[in-house]
């Protein structure tokens, strides 16, 4: 008999080790990704100076136009960020779109508003795919973790003995059995989501992860590839700059002419993209004979990620100059996959489905991490040192990150609004809280540490509505109330988890007394 391990055994080893080593990373990626589902809402919550005026886009455009005419009458372009259901702010800028500094104005009075600087919900979004590392390094590390996730999913399916028999099986209160049930069930029931979100996540950066084709066919010139994928794009960019050869025709301003009222173009855009589906409007050469208006849709009018798409009109006559060309099939596949990942479609019901599925995914990863320690603790005491390392790393990565995320929200409201480099200070609180949790996890006995960190996060989350009421300038609007209540709900869940931990006899006094002994064991 050969002593080769069976398929199940080797897959089990693979699952355990990819799951453990990259599980810490994957939990961070999944949790911040889940929070990023509501990034705009969190942005709004984190700038309480902004107020939802509940004006429609047509009247907001008039306000914006008046402001731009008064402040930038001679600009080469105007850009207006329209109030939308997820982000009711009105922003304006003049000049080239990418370089122009956005100014926020009140959608009713047109007064300029200067909200506090904040890392915002966008921080979770960026952290989700870069882990706050230099962009390309982060994208590669996250890509590696996503591959490991796929490996863990497939090997997990292979080693799961009774997928259909245990489909609805959950036996709580039985230690390792319960952890395994919970891990299995959350993995199996949400398998379509886990596979979809991991795979589409990899596809988003296909040019970075798999550059061989671009290198071979286009000598590594990614722009050449993109030009061929999107024949309309180049013409679009040239036109947007208002000159024939793509050069800005700043030297010779064209004769002035009266434009149609800008709010008319909102109706024209909505006729194409659907009501409430527009995100921004820009005017090239405003007030000149060659003035053009472009309206851009929200990302979510279709499954396909419609980033960079626009409808262009002659601003004097209202004539449609260019409709977005249909996407080529190859690119469409990639864009649909990216769309599936970004979840900008289907409105709030879909957003909530993604959010809840993301929470379950994070919980599934965390349960796998805990399962490892529960299983090892039963198997032998000989691995005490290693087990202890895994235990505190688990707590620091799971409990610590949750605490850091809530701490960011509290820092946003408690730091002085006019603090210099405020965004940086918010991040210092985030990473500081995480570091403190890491040290705490290292020093406390495992269950005691879990209890304390879960309870701390729970208290901070449960207090979120109160914090909002105390520190906001006005009564919470629909979006801020939503964030408050969601935070409260999650806080209740964590409080329940903390309560469960506290009911374990080892979590209370006995463990606290034993802590020095564990530490001595670690150091010996």
């Amino acid at each position: 008999m050969s002593r080769q391990p069976s398929l199940t055994q080797s897959m089990s080893g693979l699952h355990t080790w990819t799951g453990l080593v990259l599980g810490w990373l994957l939990f961070a990626i999944f949790l911040t990704g889940t929070l990023a589902v509501f990034d705009r809402e969190l942005n709004w919550w984190m700038q309480p100076e902004l107020q939802d005026r509940q004006v429609d886009q047509a009247s907001a455009v008039q306000v914006a136009q008046r402001w731009l005419e008064a402040n930038h009458p001679a600009a080469s372009a105007w850009n207006i960020g329209l109030p939308t259901a997820r982000d009711p702010s009105l922003s304006v800028s003049a000049g080239e779109q990418r370089r122009g500094q956005r100014t926020l104005i009140d959608a009713e009075s047109g007064e300029q508003i200067t909200p506090r600087e904040t890392a915002g919900g966008s921080f979770f979004f960026r952290f989700h795919y870069t882990l706050h590392m230099p962009r390309f390094l982060g994208i590669w590390v996250v890509g590696f973790a996503a591959m490991a996730m796929l490996v863990a999913i497939i090997s997990g399916i292979i080693i799961h003995k009774k997928i259909f028999k245990d489909f609805f099986t959950f036996r709580p209160g039985k230690g390792q059995r319960s952890w395994l049930d919970g891990h299995n069930a959350s993995a199996v029931l949400l398998l379509p989501f886990h596979l979809m979100i991991t795979y589409t996540g990899l596809v988003i950066f296909f040019l970075i992860y798999m550059p061989a084709a671009t290198d071979a066919l286009y000598n590594g010139d990614r722009d050449a590839l993109l030009r061929e994928l999107r024949p309309g794009a180049q013409q679009q960019q040239g036109a947007a700059r208002g000159g024939e050869g793509g050069r800005p025709s700043r030297e010779v301003p064209a004769a002035s002419a009266a434009m149609l009222p800008l709010e008319q173009f909102i109706a024209l855009g909505e006729a194409h993209y659907g009501a409430g589906m527009l995100s921004s409007l820009s005017v090239a050469q405003p007030g000149r004979v060659n003035a053009r208006v472009e309206v851009r849709p929200l990302l979510g009018s279709r499954l396909e990620l419609t980033k960079g798409e626009a409808l262009a009109f002659n601003a004097i006559t209202g004539e449609l100059l260019r409709a977005p060309p249909p996407t080529r099939t190859s690119l469409l596949v990639q864009k649909v996959m990216a769309g599936l990942h970004f979840a900008q479609f289907g409105g709030y019901p879909m957003r909530w489905l993604y959010f809840l599925c993301g929470l379950v995914s994070s919980a599934m990863i965390a349960s796998g991490l805990v399962l490892y320690t529960v299983k090892r603790r039963r198997q032998s005491a000989a691995q005490g040192v290693w087990l202890r390392q895994v235990e505190w790393l688990n707590l620091a990565c799971v409990g610590g990150l949750m605490l850091a995320c809530v701490a960011l929200l509290w820092a946003n409201r408690l730091l002085p609004a006019d603090l210099a480099e405020r965004e940086g200070w918010e991040l210092r609180v985030f990473f500081g809280a995480w570091l403190a949790a890491l040290l705490h996890a290292r020093l406390r006995a495992p269950l005691r540490g879990w209890l304390e960190q879960l309870a701390a996060s729970a208290v901070l989350l449960l207090g979120l509505p109160l914090l909002d009421l105390q520190t906001a300038l006005a009564v919470p609007d629909r979006i801020r109330l939503g964030v408050d209540l969601t935070g409260f709900g999650l806080g209740a869940l964590l409080a329940l988890a903390a309560w469960k931990v506290s009911k374990r006899p080892a979590a209370t006094a006995r463990a606290a007394r034993r802590a020095p002994a564990v530490m001595a064991e670690v150091q010996s």
């Binding site: 489909f167 609805f168 099986t169 029931l189 949400l190 379509p192 989501f193 019901p349 879909m350």
Partner: protein, 110 residues
């Protein structure tokens, strides 16, 4: 309108998962031991039908491509809710779809 459709679609997905669950011997014994055993054979086909109904309902909420994504998401989450209710509140696990159907008209009027 949309909220009540969503409520119905969720109820149908949950009921479908519940029927599939009752189709297994283990859970039939747990939840419906008093009912005649011959009924168990009907559970699986009924579950499949209810899940198809949920798909039809989600096609009323979203365009086709999005409906498929939303439907899968609803099935998964409803399955998970059922899983969590089974050990803690088995009677609620059986009664939840009724609650959903009763709630739907409430949203309709709003």
């Amino acid at each position: 309108m949309n909220a009540s459709l969503l409520c119905l679609a969720l109820s149908a997905s949950y009921a479908g998962m519940l029927a599939l669950c009752l189709g297994t011997e283990r859970h039939w014994k747990q939840l419906a031991a008093a009912a005649p055993p011959s009924l168990r054979a009907w559970c699986r086909p009924l579950g499949v039908l209810l899940l198809l109904l949920a798909l039809l309902l989600s096609l009323q909420i979203w365009p086709a491509s999005m409906a498929l994504v939303g439907w899968l998401g609803m099935l998964s989450l409803c399955g998970l809710v059922l899983l969590l209710l089974l050990p803690y509140a088995p009677r609620l696990a059986l009664g939840l779809p009724l609650l959903g159907v009763l709630l739907a008209p409430v949203f309709m009027s709003g």
